[in-house]
């Protein structure tokens, strides 16, 4: 296998970051607004703040994928990329890292902010596990949509997968509310990682990683862009 063209990969990542910085900044601003709403410690502001947080996370993940992969494909950017001295794997890595960076910045800011909001305010600490599972679902949904977007060219399929994986958050939350060892401890002060919670969280992380590795493996085997 040829060695990676690291300088070009770095430039492609920087290009993605520069192009999407404005939108990512807007998502970070909305995330801060949500945290301020949570900070007001009133029932209505907590509800709006937490809803806004989920909306921001979903929007962030969909935006990164649709703009950096699907739109670029529609605009035939690949033809230009093929003129650069890079292999399909380089391109895959640049897209993967670029997407992960643009997703990870608001994701991590909001994740840390949410955990701080729960742990350092009068909100019940039992919410930590439930929140981590929600964040885990968004991470998994993002990885599913990202992997499909990198492997499948059809715009229709991509939009379907993106929407379906994110919309699944509703049944996922309903499902969690049926698990007593998770839902029953939300209002308590103890942070209890029940075996069900650990299994779900581990599955989310492991499947997310497997999806990214699997997509990488497919791209590793490619000798040409088409």
């Amino acid at each position: 296998m040829n060695s990676l063209n690291v300088p070009v990969i770095k430039r492609l990542i920087a290009k993605d970051w520069l192009l999407f910085q404005k939108q990512m900044a807007a998502y970070v601003l909305t995330g801060i607004l949500s945290l301020c709403l949570l900070g007001m410690a009133r029932p209505w502001s907590f509800y709006i703040g937490s809803l806004l947080l989920i909306i921001v996370l979903v929007a962030t993940s969909c935006f990164a994928i649709s703009t950096s992969l699907i739109n670029e494909r529609k605009e035939h950017n690949l033809a230009f990329v093929m003129s650069l001295p890079i292999a399909p794997l380089d391109y895959y890595l640049a897209k993967l890292i670029g997407n992960l960076v643009t997703f990870a910045v608001p994701f991590l800011v909001i994740l840390i902010g949410t955990l701080a909001a729960i742990l350092l305010t009068p909100l019940p600490d039992g919410l930590v596990v439930y929140s981590l599972l929600i964040f885990g679902h968004i991470l998994l949904a993002y990885c599913v949509a990202l992997s499909v977007a990198m492997a499948v060219e059809s715009e229709g399929w991509n939009i379907f997968v993106m929407i379906a994986s994110m919309v699944m958050i509703n049944p996922f939350m309903m499902g969690l509310s049926q698990i007593e060892s998770i839902h029953g401890v939300i209002r308590g002060e103890a942070i209890i990682f029940s075996s069900a919670a650990i299994v779900i969280l581990t599955t989310q992380v492991v499947v997310s990683l497997l999806l990214l590795v699997g997509t990488g493996w497919v791209h590793c085997r490619k000798v040409a862009f088409y």
Binding site: A26, C36, G39, L120
Partner: protein, 368 residues
């Protein structure tokens, strides 16, 4: 890359930081703070109130304005990434490292005082009562007096985010007319209306709207002044007038506070106090900025030393002050003597620790 030194800003920042030590020390003798402050002493004086709350209006606003100016300067010289790298080292790291020791030492000294002081404050009496309970109420952890570091990090993130979303090459007029500065304080009124008067320190870990609006305004003003220093030109000759007006407004504010004293259950300030507070804050801060440019743009070895040591002093002064003022609670001195002893001893210990722990060690890079 070396950063240009602006001596008046270094000196102003040092004064703002050291004024914080004076302010926190004076709170112990403030009649207004008797129900709220753990260090509240039985010797009180209205003079302490008059002095402390006036400082309160412009001390931190001035600090945030200077911080905004320096962050814009860092972006100019090192780019956004360079600014963040520098701020992580100088702001985030000290916050992360010092937060826990500060909280633990404040908790320890307060518990000790609750158990041992013969003339406890109202807050200490509550702590004493809680200590006898099997399951005492737990207060959520806060940022303590390090809240300013925490908010600075939020302001840097907001600076990047707002700069990216609203990127523009447009600039304000080269000079803002005088009337703009006269009505500008109205922008601060909504923030001050949504908290009690006098405004508290935003110590919660969750960012507060009012604190972002109030202190963020001064931070943004500082960044704007870096790009357009001439904005204040129309105001320069009126600067003494701003100071005199602020003092007159402050007298009105004190009168208003006497008529409408704060209550622990209050969620918002009376509008009269919020409006007066907004004008005093902005006008006094602008006056000090202009006066600093005129009178403090000097370089002396001892001023340099004071400027370098003031950051560390401010970071560690509160735990030291707590121990000293708890120790003074049972003494029969007058409030002024206690104030003088506590300030002098706190500054001596903090500057000594700066000399020993920071100035001569690698810590100077972060905290010097």
């Amino acid at each position: 890359m070396a950063i240009e030194r602006l001596h008046y800003l270094d000196n102003l920042r040092a004064l703002a930081m050291l004024a914080g030590v004076l302010f926190h020390a004076a709170l112990a003798y403030s009649p207004l703070m008797q129900p709220f402050w753990p260090l509240a002493d039985r010797s009180t004086s209205a003079v302490a109130d008059v002095f402390a709350w006036f400082l309160h209006f412009f001390r931190m606003p001035l600090f945030f304005m200077i911080a905004g100016y320096f962050s814009a300067m860092l972006i100019e010289q090192r780019g956004m990434g360079g600014m963040f790298a520098n701020r992580v080292q100088r702001v985030l790291l000290p916050f992360v490292v010092l937060w826990l020791p500060v909280i633990l030492s404040l908790t320890w000294s307060t518990e000790w005082a609750a158990a041992n002081v013969e003339h406890p404050s109202a807050v200490l009496k509550i702590v004493r009562e809680w200590s006898t309970m099997a399951d005492p109420p737990q207060l959520p952890p806060g940022t303590s007096h390090l809240w300013f570091l925490y908010y600075l990090m939020w302001f840097y993130i907001l600076q990047w985010a707002l700069g990216s979303v609203f990127a523009t090459r447009k600039r304000l007029q080269s000079q803002l007319p005088l009337w703009t500065w006269l009505i500008a304080p109205l922008l601060l009124v909504p923030s001050l209306l949504s908290v009690t008067a006098p405004h508290p320190a935003p110590e919660s870990f969750l960012p507060q709207f009012w604190a972002i609006g109030f202190f963020g305004f001064f931070f943004a003003l500082g960044t704007t002044l870096r790009r357009q220093p001439q904005l204040l030109d129309a105001l320069r000759r009126w600067s003494p007038g701003l100071a005199i007006s602020s003092m007159l407004l402050y007298i009105a504010w004190l009168y208003g506070l006497r008529r409408l004293p704060p209550d622990p259950g209050d969620l918002a300030a009376p509008w009269q106090l919020a409006v007066l507070g907004a004008f005093i804050s902005l006008w006094m801060t602008l006056h000090l900025w202009i006066a600093g440019q005129r009178f403090l743009n000097v370089q002396h070895p001892w001023l340099r030393y004071l400027a370098a040591g003031s950051y560390w002093t401010y970071l560690v002064h509160l735990p030291v002050l707590f121990v000293i003022q708890y120790g003074l609670m049972d003494q029969a001195f007058g409030w002024l003597t206690k104030l003088a002893i506590s300030v002098a001893a706190t500054l001596a210990i903090c500057f000594f620790s700066y000399e020993v722990l920071v100035r001569r060690t690698q810590l100077r890079r972060w905290l010097g």
